[in-house]
Amino acid sequence: MSVPLAAAVEAPERELPLRVRLSMYLRLLAIQGSWNYEILLGNGVGFCVEPALRLLPGGVGGPAYRAALARQCQYFNAHPYLAAVAVGALARAELDGEPPARIERFRTALCGPLGSVGDRLIWAGWLPFCSLLALVVFGFGGNAPLVLLTFLGAYNAGHLALRAWGLSVGWERGIRVAQALGNPVLRHGPDYIGRAAALMAGIALPLALYRIIGEGRALTGGVLVAVGAGAVLLARLHGRVEGWRLALGVLAAFVLYSVGLHG
């Protein structure tokens, strides 16, 4: 007998009080507050799930609360924004009274996908896209408020919405949340955003360069040729040299040379 897909992925309906939901959402913004090399996000997940655990029988300090909080503070690793999915799902699993061993297995299984999907979607996609979009606005002569509004507005519209979606879908689906990671935005979004960011990069570079240098097309043209050659070299080195360290070295040498000329 086939089971409708919605029934297969949705946990039975259960409301999370708005006050608790808001508290969890705000805490998600600080999920990395105690990030460290031992338990990584572990304590942060416990911190975010904690308001929901107060609803367990016995309330704060009760045996169920303490056992659940202890479970949720163990080692955890994920992208900080998509950790919202885990926080919602784990809160639901605890309140649904899932067996502890099952919750621990589920918790471990969430780490990998939530890390890799988030890294591709946000760090390698949305962040560079918004940054480059703002640089395009800068290159077109946009003033400071416009550039900042473009960058922070676009970035945080995605950022805050993703955290809210994650918490919501995690809570709704509980231990069956894995299917939510098949969402088209998470599966295909990185590629679309990546292409858009690549386009923005191409537009932004010459325009931003021209605005920073100031008037003078010949100089801008010369710099662009040098940039092209330098970028090809960096790409061929393929990660063996960190660009920012190279920039530090080159600029330090240039400052010493330019100041030294005075003497």
């Binding site: 090399y37 801008t220 100041v259």
Partner: protein, 234 residues
Amino acid sequence: MSWLSLVGDLSDLFMLTLLGAVLGLDVVSFPQAQISRPLAAATIAGFLTGNVAGGLLVGAALELIALETLPFGASRYPEWGSAAVVGGALFAEQAEGAAGALTTAVLAALATAWVGGWSMVELRKLNARWARVRLDRLARGSQRTVIGLQVAGMTADLARGGALTLLALLVMRPVVRASVGLWAGDARLARAVVVGVAATVAAGAAWKIFHAIPGARWFFAGGIVAGLALLALR
């Protein structure tokens, strides 16, 4: 130096330190809204120093470099929040069009970002030490310990960003002033070198990030053509 200007200087220093602390916190701990990206951080620092356009300029140059260092997981990367405050403020303080101002401000920001990256690693080790000695209380499900660790980590990060910004401003300010005073070169050439280096890093970073995405290289090439055409039309 009059009392009034001394008070003004100290008040500027206090505001910039506070800004560096808050933006240092934004990098990882709270709320990761990317206010700490150089484009935003340096511009806000420029605003506080009375030269928002200067802050934006140095922010754009730093943002190009920062495109290469994205905060993947546990990787080690420069801390741009406090660093961009230092760069933005130092550039905004120089006379308009001063030769070498952009170069030295960007260099100061890069050096601060380097030290900032190291300080974040040390903070993570400190957080680990704090967590390790409280593992038994965490295993007992102590609400107080969970919240305490979180608050302690964020407070330490705030203090780290503030201390880094203050120290960098105190050390770099005289160095930048002296360097700009002694600069013996053309202002536009100096800016061209900075932005050339920054754009090289950005182009290399763009390739690194996007080359594996099907079709992205064509979008990049199309963007370059469009950007150059727009430049030619201006």
